[in-house]
């Protein structure tokens, strides 16, 4: 187990280095990055000063080493617009993004499993057919468009759900104020429903299809037949025996799912004016606040890598074959 952990950790370090290298390359690929930091009307002298101040006059490898050296200490530069360390600005937006991602993931798992099981049990029926078609459709809808359509239908027309806004849930929790967090819960969910459905529908559809096919496979195995032969109720056979094995592929996907969800969150946050990293990133892009764009991307990628590491370690703990 320890060698596995050590190997997996060293892989993670390499990946993180790769991430910093990619974002460093991105910054320099368009030529002298100084011009990203100065206004169009800057004089030559101003440009030269900025270049020296930001260290862009030094050789590339020195710049890269300085960059990772600082990044390792949590210094990702100063946001040009907020005049604060970019990492702090990102940290402020982080809880809202995590809330949205987790809630989407919850929907994607909790709704998908019964749908997938139902489709597998009624294989070939109209129910199965409709679930599969909806699943296919769900994988073809851009999350941001679904968001827009929901806003138009349930927000503007029917006025059932709020079209924007956010009630903090994790932020009070991080500050140790669980009472406020708990009191906020109902209204927080109210605001979360539409954005998290928009983000989660892709994963939901995929999970439903995944559960269905893995359920069909499990149901045809010998131990299920044995369970039936023992005279167990159909419920016990399906839930206790088959489903327990059938949802493993979904568990395996959770780490990856997080990456897909993060990608979706970035765009959906803009549609719902959700105060998370996605909207921050969008605004930073429009204001060409390069250090902030970089900080957003590095933090999001870091979270993604960390989650994958955790999922892999948990999985290795559950399934000894992985460690071999």
């Amino acid at each position: 187990m320890w060698t596995y952990i050590a190997r997996r950790l060293s892989q993670t370090v390499i990946v993180i280095l790769g991430v910093t290298l990619i974002s460093f390359t991105a910054l320099h690929i368009g030529g002298d990055p100084t011009f990203l930091y100065v206004s169009d009307r800057a004089t030559n002298e101003e440009i030269a000063q900025t270049r020296v101040r930001l260290g862009f006059d030094k050789p590339l490898y020195v710049q890269y080493l300085t960059f990772i050296g600082k990044a390792a200490q949590g210094d990702l530069g100063k946001s040009l617009k907020f005049h604060r360390p970019a990492i702090d600005v990102v940290a402020d937006a982080l809880p809202a993004t995590i809330e949205l991602t987790l809630f989407s993931m919850l929907i994607a798992i909790v709704v998908a499993i019964p749908l997938g099981v139902l489709a597998a049990l009624r294989r070939g029926s109209a129910t199965d057919g409709s679930i599969m078609i909806l699943g296919m459709l769900g994988q073809s809808i851009p999350s941001f468009w679904l968001g827009i359509m929901m806003i138009m239908t349930f927000g503007v027309q029917l006025r059932w759900l709020p079209i924007s806004g956010h009630v903090p849930l994790l932020e009070p929790m991080f500050q140790g104020d669980f009472h406020t967090a708990f009191a906020n819960l109902p209204s927080a969910i109210y605001y979360l429903i539409m954005p998290s459905l928009a983000v989660g529908v892709y994963s939901l559809s995929r999970n439903a299809r995944l559960v269905r096919s893995s359920m069909l496979e499990t149901l045809s195995l010998d131990f299920v037949r044995t369970a039936r032969a023992k005279g167990l109720s159909e419920y016990a056979v399906v839930i206790n025996h088959a489903l327990r094995n059938a949802w493993l592929p979904v568990v395996t996907m959770i780490g990856l799912e997080f990456g897909f969800l993060l990608g979706g969150v970035v765009v959906v946050e803009i549609v719902f004016s959700w105060p998370g990293i996605g909207r921050l990133l969008f605004n930073a892009i429009n204001q060409r606040d390069i250090p902030l764009v970089q900080a957003c991307v590095i933090v999001l990628a870091g979270i993604f890598v960390a989650i994958n590491l955790i999922v892999d370690l948990v999985y290795a703990r559950l399934d000894p074959r992985v460690r071999l």
């Binding site: 990619i22 994988q139 851009p142």
Partner: protein, 319 residues
């Protein structure tokens, strides 16, 4: 365990369901295969529908400028936000699908948008696919450290959410069709490289490769002439799902304003502009471009599903 998702942002390894073991079908007479494919499509019904949608789309992309009723960029403040199918005083319907906030014709913009989506989708796949196939062949054929280096680079790229990478490069490079295609294409290579590598690993030990070597064929000729034709089949499945996900990614990036310049109408940027009219309930601005994206992506996904079942019937029972 190394994570092994075979692709970029949106694609779907599970739905793609591609086992590394998926093997090329035994060679058949040409006409035979096409007839079998057509019969299987007709039996499936949905693939036929998908084919029809794609045919319409390709027509729209090619004939766009000829059949579009108006100039997609002509602004007219007098005719802004006209609802679809509303006749003017003379009884003429000018905007079949309505007009946008600048008085531009939605239908014409949709038709022009088809060009961008298809062009970007197909070209990105061609670039990413060629790069991936070449690197996968080299990786699997030579093995050793070459293989290690190529696959580790791929691992790093996969460990990094693709959309974020695309955003970062496009912010610095600036929006534009060429940059967009390049970024989306490079984002896809590893998907192809992994599958081609796995196949090459098993194929290079086969007798027919041995025979080619014995006849004195060069490495390049063995890779591209002897091995390559045998790995194409599973790639078509991947490519089909991949085009779908690239079109989705293009729409998302255009929506963020990182796609093509504003003078080029795209479905994603039309949706971005529709947000301004959301509260005013100008539904046609959002509904039509969205439907265009969904139908296109759906069609490619259905074709991919069908191709997978068709090429590897073993997977079919599990749907």
């Amino acid at each position: 365990m190394t994570q092994s998702h075979p692709d970029g942002p949106f694609i779907d390894p599970a739905a793609a369901g591609l086992a590394d073991t998926m093997v090329a079908l035994p060679p058949q007479r040409r006409g035979d295969g096409w007839r079998r494919a057509w019969r299987s499509m007709v039996r499936g019904r949905w693939p036929l529908l998908a084919l029809f949608i794609l045919a319409l789309l390709i027509l729209a992309a090619i004939l766009g400028p000829t059949i579009s009723p108006l100039d997609p960029n002509r602004q007219n403040i007098m005719t802004r936000l006209e609802a679809p199918m509303v006749a003017d005083r003379a009884g003429h319907v000018k905007f079949f699908l309505g007009s946008d906030g600048l008085g531009r014709d939605v239908l014409s913009r949709l038709l022009y948008g088809a060009r961008v989506s298809l062009l970007v989708g197909v070209t990105a796949i061609v670039i990413g696919g060629s790069l991936g196939v070449a690197l996968g062949l080299i990786s699997g054929y030579f093995g050793g450290w070459t293989d290690d280096v190529i696959m580790r680079i791929g691992d790093i790229q996969l460990a990094f959410p693709f959309v974020l990478m695309a955003i970062m490069f496009l912010v610095v490079l600036g929006p534009g069709v060429f940059n967009l295609i390049l970024v989306l294409g490079i984002g896809q290579w590893i998907t192809y490289a992994r599958i081609v590598r796995a196949q090459t690993l098993s194929l290079r030990e086969k007798e027919f490769v041995e025979a080619a070597r014995a006849l004195g064929a060069s490495h390049a000729s063995i890779m591209f002439v002897t091995i390559l034709p045998n790995v194409i089949a599973p790639l078509t499945v991947i490519a089909s799902f991949n085009i779908a996900s690239v079109i989705l990614a293009e729409a998302a990036l255009s929506f963020l304003g990182l796609g093509v310049p504003p003078s080029v109408p795209t479905w994603g940027s039309m949706l971005a502009e529709s947000r301004d009219q959301l509260i005013a309930n100008k539904w046609w601005l959002a509904v039509f471009p969205g439907m265009a994206i969904v139908l296109t992506v759906l069609a490619f996904n259905i074709i991919g599903d069908w191709l997978r079942d068709f090429l590897d019937p073993r997977l079919k029972s599990n749907g």
